[in-house]
Amino acid sequence: MANNKKYWSGLDELDGTEAFKEIQAKEFQEQIPVDQFLADERHSSTTTGRRDFLKFMGFSLTAATLAACETPVIKSIPYTNKPAEITPGVANYYASTYYDGMDYSNVLVKTREGRPIFIKGNTSTGIGAGKVNSRVIGSVMSLYDKARLDGPTQNGNSTTWDDLDNAMSAAVSGTGRTVVLSNTIVSPSTVKAIEALGAEHVQYDAISYSALRMAQADAFGVNAVPSYHFSKAEVIVSIAADFLNSWLSSTLYAPDYALLRGPERGKQSKHFQFESAMTMTGTNADVRTMIKPSEEGKVAAGLLAALKGATVSNLDAGVIKSINAAAKSLNSSKGKSLVVAGSNDLATQTIVAAINQQLGNYGSTLDLERPSMAYRGDDASVSDLVKDMNSGKISTLITYGCNPSYDLPNADAFNTGLAKVKTSVCMNGVADETAVRSTFVAPDHHYLESWNDLSLNSGRIDLVQPTIEPIFNTRAAQESFLNWSSSENSDWYTFLRRQYNASYTSDAMYSDSDWNSAIHDGTMTGNDSPESPEYTAAIDTTQAERKVASVKGGAFELVTYVKATAGSGNHAANPILQETPDPVSKVTWDNYVTMSKSDMDSMGLNTYIAQEDMGSVVKVTVNGKSVELPAFMQPGQKPGTLGIALGYGRGSNGENIGQAAFQTGEQGEHLTHASGLPMPIGANAYPLTSTSEGYTIYANYDVSIEATGAEYPLACTQIHNTYMGRESVVKETSFDSYLAEAGKKKGEASWNKAHRLNVHEDTNHDGVIDARDKKNTSAFDLWHSHPVEEVGHRWGMTIDLTTCTGCSACVTACNIENNVSVVGKDEVLRHRDMHWIRIDRYYASDFSLEKGDEEGVGVIDSYGRMEDPSENPQTVHMPMMCQHCNHAPCETVCPVAATTHSNEGLNQMTYNRCIGTRYCANNCPYKVRRFNWFNYKGYKKFEHVNPAHDSLARLILNPDVTVRARGVMEKCSMCVQRIQSGKLDAKKSGTPILDGQIETACAESCPSNAIKFGDLNDSGSEVRTISENNRAYHALEEIGVKPNVFYMTKVRNS
């Protein structure tokens, strides 16, 4: 109800007096002295200084900016005296050899304007197949590291070479023992240079194979690691030997292994793997069995017994079953099989030697006539040396090509002993763990700046030649040795030449045609002095078998292993390798403790790692030494075992080993511990190795583990583990199924059925139009195809999933060839890694929709359970890059036509036109497009990790490929720079392009030849033949984008 009351504030209002009316009319009750204010003289003199100031500033700033807006002047600086062999813009290739104590490869180094920018395998004259791996390809980056020392140092202060030489000559020639501690030297000339020093020479390998070597010495009288010929091995049984990744000379084994994979020959090798942690080799095995490290010896003994027909006991039933199956396969391929073990336990290796002998493999798949000259490190001698150092018996110690303060199992003892050595000199090129503890550092050249000769097998000498003038004031270590010796007075190059031509003088430097052609090829035949092993001598394994049977394991056992990208630790400062994802776990920039899911669940650790979900940190203690690392759920890890990668935790005392060797945080800054020391990447697991009876043991049978409650983010590029039963992502089958339908036409075999869609036509001619009328997806076309599709070139690629081992050499090669930015851990965490090619790794799941039907589980729940990989899953590696779809979904949605299709089938990405809408990446079904979220080459967040920031490291950039700016999309271009270059060569010579003339970086670097590139329109090309093979299919065929990349069904011989 309305209120009719009237309200008033005072009597004046009630009465309506004149005074009130007057006041009501005014806005303000009181008088405001406006006139007084305006009359004030001061105001007219006050200028509105602030406003005018802003106006003037704005104008002048704009004017200055506009005036300063000039096109920058570009300088063009030619040589003063140009070497005749360098043409600016043309690459020169030099043959050289890579050897770092672990990997051995003949390489071709691509140089531009006098600097190396790319490394590829020397497939024409190289040893074995002449292939490389990820670590060798990435080694070009370590050349351009500003952390390398620029001259010798004494106690951390720089000194001159002359002063150093005087001190060292005196030390070497003085009284007291002089010892050279090095990795295994396979260079005959370097050995002679060390002999000229008159020093004792102790060799050790960071990853030791002494037991394998001693087993051969004991059994056959040859103290060397055998040469393995995987290309002849139809059956391979590996007991924890990661021979495709890091075991012995994996660069030689991977291509050979791949030769026998691929079912077209009608047979395929059978690979059994017994291991604890999931290694890269294990992911490729046909039959993989999980064992504990303490059981490795028992498995070997069981295999020996099974081969003789005896029953195997003291192992799990599943393991026994696999051993029997392996024995059966081995017995049917005598002389064409290979049993290898990765253990450094003499008993295990003795048994394995006996197995191989019994199978007649010696002289066929492995031989000791021309054994490997590498891996001759003697763990016992190193232990003795450390003891002598601590007793003060060593007066001069020279460390060369090794980092004992970091990777010896008793590194602490070594360090205390090193302090007691009177004169110690380290030849490493960086002030690393050993160098900072040595009196002198005499930095050696990088291998790309060195002369050397190497011999892996008798009868063959591989040469190392410099591909660039030494960048820093370094000197060849061998030259230092010669300078310090009292018997030699020549320089290293003359010394080296004289080994092959005793009458060599420097006048004849270029005129020795034998030497010239050897340098050109990178190799020459050397004196062949084969060993004469006694293959038939009886091997008594009773003692060995007793010993392995007595090994007891605890609740948790530890295996330390070598990762594909870290190696034994010398690649820690290489950002490209740090960011290449691990082939098995897909983790970058860290190491971790691999654990099985059941163990992690029982300990309450976090198994799901993502951008916001961090890993749980655990503390693993071995013999009183412990490391704290995040736990990572690894399918295929034997429950009760742990795995930790070696080669991490470099620079843990703040040694300056390189900017990229230390962990970066959210703003790209180097993280520090509370102590002020920079945080290294990962943790050093070498202290967890131990020595047993003189051999370094990389496993430990009783360790303790506890959750610390802390959390740590892990930058994993692939969180999703299984492919959830999708049809045409990965297709695989067993060898028998393949054989049963091997003759069928493409698209008809059950393991590679062409995808078909329902049509409203009576295609099966049964008179009715129903769900049974289907047509192949390939028959549907949403758009017209390109008119010249069959006329010119049509670049395509085939990837054989059977031979792809997942080694990621292609990833590293692509990154270096195409200037792909390194983005650092924080960005990888946010899934912003820039890799153009990635290797999708899928684990098989026990669950499937069919199984869900049987068990009555609903579809949604089924999908949830399919996300869980099985405990011992089968693994598939699938390299994925831009598929260059002929009906590309990305091309139609670009608002500015920055991505178009070429006449030759390539999907072109035009960086300068791209405005960064990112619709193309949204539309890409394969999610292969990468966006430049930041100015990676300039923004300070990436200054420690991206080579383009550093004035020296940027020399690695490929001048033929644009370095992308912020805000543009990029993706695999199928190395269009190489395609154009190949076409140009063909046009210049007036000849058509031959198959194999143009190779993309990934195809060129693949050790197994799984990736092949060529012209699909060339009827004689390999890719054309393979694309018509009945194993060939397109990824996600059902969406009908018609890619130019074909995958081949994976065939397992299980």
Binding site: T80, N81, T87, S902, E904, R913, K988
Partner: protein, 340 residues
């Protein structure tokens, strides 16, 4: 021995310097501006005179003087009263501004006639016209590489080891080559890093400063241009893109109109219209340049497929409608041929 002096053709080899191209264009504009200022001053003065006279008449008549307002206020008043004229003048200025502004913006990136000063006042007409040195003698990598290159100092020394003095600049410019490479002109030998002379060849140990030329024909980083593709495979003459260098002093980007006039002396020059070194210029030439498929075995199989294609010759026949195959028809307009 000093070699220099006159050659017979020196009179026929003029050097045309285009170092100050703006003068010819801007001189007219200056005059217009001066006239404009003059007219404004006259107009304002006349208005002022009129005002004074009006005041005088008003005073005489005993009327009110004109109000003493400021110039701007009076101008504003006049403008408000003459809106049509003011709008026309305003529109004129706006249009002028837009036209001038737009052409200035569209000129960004056009480097025609760009001819920067160089550390050595190298004269192309002496070397090319008078001494008839072929382009590729100095710019030798044009045949083998994506860069044509600027000759390294040792190429200059091939002749200048003997020619120590020039007709126009004497020894001043030639001495700069000697300073870079370490040549002692008095003894005719090279110096080494310790300053000793007597060497027959340039010494690696002589740490001279290389000659830092200013790059003239510079394409952006996102462009890949290969000289060998155009010179070796395409068979283009240098003059087609770089003009008649024999009249230049230092390097200069020849404008496209200038290149078009060379059709008589260098038959085969493709006539273009877009400004030189812009993408439109490259694209235009790719549209016009013809390829003789029969000349190279590279095209043999492709040509066969074109003729025998099952697709229907009609669709592909259009490539032969004009009886010639241009670079464009072979894919020369595709982005990734130059942008990768």
């Amino acid at each position: 021995m000093d070699v220099g002096g006159d050659t017979a053709s020196s009179d026929n080899c003029p050097t045309i310097d285009y170092n100050t191209p703006e003068e010819s264009d801007s001189s007219n504009a200056m005059w217009f501006l001066i006239l404009l200022i003059l007219f404004t001053v006259i107009a304002l003065s006349a208005a002022g005179v009129k005002r004074s006279l009006t005041d005088v008449i008003a005073e005489k008549a005993g009327e009110d003087l004109l109000p003493d307002t400021g110039y701007l206020a009076r101008l504003g008043g006049w403008a408000w009263n003459n809106l049509v004229m003011v709008s026309l003048i305003g529109i004129f200025f706006v249009l002028y501004g837009v036209v001038v502004g737009y052409s200035a913006l569209m000129d960004i990136g056009i480097y025609s006639n760009y001819s920067p000063e160089q550390p050595i006042a190298f004269n192309h007409s002496i070397h090319v016209c008078e001494n008839e040195i072929d382009c590729k003698y100095c710019h030798s990598s044009a045949y083998d590489s994506k860069h044509a290159g600027i000759p390294s100092a040792n190429v200059c020394m091939n002749c200048h080891k003997a020619i120590k003095k020039g007709r126009r600049t004497g020894t001043e410019e030639i001495e700069k080559i000697y300073a870079a490479i370490g040549f002692d002109s008095s003894t005719g030998t090279y110096l080494d890093g310790d300053g000793n002379n007597g060497k027959a060849l340039p010494q690696d140990s002589y740490n001279g400063e290389p000659i830092k030329w200013n790059k003239v024909h510079n394409l952006p980083d996102h462009v890949f241009f290969s000289h060998q593709q155009h010179v070796n495979v395409g068979g283009l003459q240098c003059q087609n893109c770089h003009g008649d260098v024999s009249t230049f002093s230092v390097g200069r980007i020849a404008p496209v109109e200038e290149i078009n006039t060379l059709i008589d002396t260098y038959p085969g020059i493709i006539q273009l219209s877009k400004p030189a070194l812009t993408m439109g210029w490259c694209i235009e030439c790719h549209n016009k340049a013809e390829i003789d498929l029969a000349s190279s075995g590279y095209y043999e199989e492709m040509h066969d497929r074109l003729m025998n294609s099952e697709r229907g010759n009609e669709e592909l026949r259009r490539y032969l409608e004009d009886e010639k195959i241009t670079v464009r028809e072979l894919g020369g307009w595709e982005c990734s041929k130059c942008h990768y």
